[in-house]
Symmetry: D3
Subunit: 231 residues, 6 copies
């Protein structure tokens, strides 16, 4: 089972270490987008690179692709383009959260992504279980490079969503916060979902179940279907 | 009052003819995107051009921008980038439809845009009044160039949404179908909303009311805010 | 373009000053209802006068009518009676608010109108975006006559809906508060919708778009249709 | 236990025959409204008479009032005015229907009341269980005077809501159709709710439980509270 | 009119004292379940006893059965088994609450039943009016045996749901709290629903209206229908 | 990784054949319940056996339990009792379906389980994506023993949910229909979810992600917590 990760070699190595026997994870970094995603402007700038990687991954023979940003930018277009499963970390984390409790909250980086994540929950179809989205108030880069300063902010936000918002489950709302999940769960006492790791496991689950997204839901774009028809 | 239209000179001329006294409408065609938008792949490919036009329009001193595709691609990022009103034809048409009846339907081109338009209605916040989305089954280009063949298909779809789906109001779900609206309304007997014309009028309404989108809803992207702070 | 306002000569004069070139606004005060509307009892007592004005306005050749109370009393019956657009300040303000942000709050006068306004939001179809309804705790008359005392209460309420209820946009939930909107917006930093002014602009928008309410949604009452048929 | 019915002596006599031992039902016909209610125009014209009866009934010492039209016109204002229970046939029928099955449909007279009844279901809070509203297509007066012609139309509509709309329970959506309920239920095989009779029983239930509407929900109108305070 | 109560002789005696003339209430205690119900584990353990009582009650000729726990355990299966009305205290209390105000809260015993009661409100179809579920934090047994200690906790919880959660009506969310309802209502100033008493009255209402649950909603189980068919 | 299946040795063997390397699946048949589950009466009769198996499985050291009926009977109580993941086939299938398309339908056995499955979808939190529940009209036993007769009925139902109900994804709504899934998917052209296989994969996913249900959502029952505290 060969999986492509839209992301850095570092992250692919992390996932490779976690992967089940017989599963390989290769990095396919997207070209040309922003280094971190903190607004809708960033999201759209990131999409062309994602779509190129997704398409190339199917052509290369990968069994599934995992996209790399929690906001799931371009996921619908990616699924229009290919037939292999495209795992979206945000969507995957939220549906798993819906299995583990009656309500979940997302803890993420900055105010500027709160509204987009609420919209994402609505599009995924689980907004009825979303208790809240709270931020720690630091940019993505700080999550990566200043763990000592940032981790306590994450603990505080996680406690608030449990105590004030009645969340049963917490979702790390940023790919870079994935690496905080296990420690936070031990500290706060509720499941904390690691979007990267859970996307890896969900990829194994879908492939192992013989499932991929429905092409009724994500049809081949007419212009591409047309070209094919002519060829 | 100076309005920029993300679109062709032809369309700007059409709107100029309709505009209130003292209002000018200038075309600002987006660069580099697809000629028509019939899938999410098309939508994302169209966005960079839209964002460039929106940003440049504010810099040029326009009072508002009207984006040119019914699917409202990139509208949230566009509003992050500027403070002048950005009129989205899909959103505008749907909220006006909500004022005119208890339910409305969208009549659009191809199956491939049905799901995105349902999501759009949900994001706009009026999905509770959306009776249905029906298609006429032709590509956008045919709407523009084969009116004689296509118009009867539009009549048939409009009749169905009224008779079978209980729609009080119909929204033309494609910029190029704007030009069918008046004739269809006369034929079918319910209001048929012309997204282009209604967006023009809504731009006049917002400017005349001293209103624009809330920057709490569409904050300046952190990376841009940061640059500004440093400058 | 000739507009009738269900309300006082003072208000009509205010709107006339704001109106676009070529638009006239005439006052048509309703007879026999209460001077201010602060309960459902008041609303129903106000309706007969509204309906008379609406009917007479169509007969007089007006192009649209603007009703004068934010609670939109009798609007559905008014639309049953005529074919010209009937602009409802509450409905109009809420759909415009839905265009400007992800959530909006209503700031109004007294507890007694909170529940009716929540119902109104639900009927308009935008309740999913309604963050809250908060009151300033003074009767309508005080809004008109004690601006110095009342305005600071309005500022406080507006700050709370932004800071505690996460409102992107504020709607003045009382016709008499319309005159506070511009100053409040400058002070609080989010769009504050003036129901009277926005209704005027929306009337211009609908007429300019060739639109009015759907008679499928607001059919001619059977008794009237019957009389007509017999005549 | 003394109950007032907003309606004719005939209907009060019917309810008196059904009433539990020790319960009296007196007719209090509303003055000045239309004879039948088939539009929102009719509803509003009917309200002043209802409010007068409700107020007078409390003053006369009645233990509860039953309003007489399925659309529940003026019910919120009525409850603002008094402290005794005000039974609304539409609301009462719908909440009882919600107890008897997973979904219910309303069968009523004319298209012109369909939208108002859907709104009513939403306001009552049980719209999630409303399967459909279907009409028999005759005016109220024909329901009363042409039972032979009309009853088969009611049977046909009841069959459709069960077979096509998946209704578990049927509600007669017009006071005058109350008298068809028992026979229809026997014929169609699902519970058919008689709004008049069920309102009588619900009045007995509320009084027997020591319950009435919450004055937090229906506060005394400020103008009346004010007069009282001054008196 | 003969009613069976799934519960103790004490409770039946209480209801008998309240019952209308001509109504008898007999206790039918369920066998083998837990003495109090404070978790889903308790609920399921209680169900076999309930179903036995319900079935036997119909066989004995009772006109209706009132089940005895606010969580309504097994109510859907009970209705599959019989044709006489099965009154569920939770469901009944919530639909009556929906008639008395725009929002209601449930005040109950322990955190462990909060989620099940929220689910119950959703299944009943009135979750849109549920303002909150709050607990007093004592086990059911203490409600019964330590009224002096527990009652003030109930007062405090009732004040909070009114002041903080905007509840118009309060529902006692535990059969044993029924006996606090009247005193709490007098103290807090909003209607407080007594689930036992209200279920008794609702039983009288349904029988008096000739109504019972729809067998379309609660069909005879195929295995039982099959046995019958073969017999 | 050791998994317990609440079900027959045959089914455990089927899952063992599918399981990933290093995963063992052992059958733990529930005692005393009905052989098939076709009503709420059946569901409740099945629960005690399920709860015993779940508890014993944790005690035996299993890493997770998969319950065996699509209706997920007793799942909330099961999660109250243990800390290891309890995989519910209905819930699991529906959240996976939500990942694969915009809408899904359930194809199941008999009318008597339609309403319970709709409730289940609502409780899982994905009812917004549920297009329909359709039945093939045969008892569970026939699904197992008369595949030749039953399979074409399943094909017909699957075609209808795609063509008439707009389902992107189909869920087999009965454990015994799991074995039809792969063939149906090939025939109908959309993903068809096999609840048993998908539950196995989801168990691997949760264990591999270090996740289990939140004890905030499913607290230890007070009576058990109490015993523990005393011990």
């Amino acid at each position: 089972m060969r999986l492509a990760l839209v992301g850095s070699a570092d992250r692919a190595r992390y996932l490779q270490d976690q992967a089940s026997p017989g599963v390989t994870v290769d990095a396919r970094p997207p070209l040309g987008g922003p280094e971190t995603i903190e607004s809708m402007v960033d999201e759209y700038a990131y999409i062309p690179g994602v779509l190129d990687v997704v398409r190339a991954s199917e052509a290369e023979g990968f069994d599934a692709v995992i996209t790399g940003c929690f906001g799931d930018p371009g996921i619908d277009a990616a699924r229009e383009l290919v037939r292999i499963p495209v795992l979206a970390p945000g969507e995957t984390s939220m549906v798993v959260a819906a299995m583990l409790g009656h309500s979940f909250s997302i803890v993420t980086v900055l105010d500027s992504v709160v509204r987009p994540l609420k919209k994402l929950a609505q599009n995924v179809g689980v907004a009825g279980k979303l208790a809240s989205v709270r931020v720690i108030g630091v940019p993505v880069m700080a999550v990566r490079t200043e763990r000592e300063r940032v981790y306590p902010l994450a603990v505080a936000a996680c406690r608030r969503v449990v105590e004030e918002d009645d969340a049963d489950v917490i979702v790390m709302g940023c790919g870079s916060m994935s690496f905080y999940a296990a420690e936070l769960s031990a500290e706060v006492g509720v499941p904390v979902i690691n979007p990267l790791l859970t996307s890896l496991r969900a990829a194994e689950m879908l492939i192992g179940s013989g499932l991929t997204h429905s092409k009724r839901a994500y049809p081949v774009p007419p212009k591409i279907a047309g070209y094919a028809a002519r060829a």
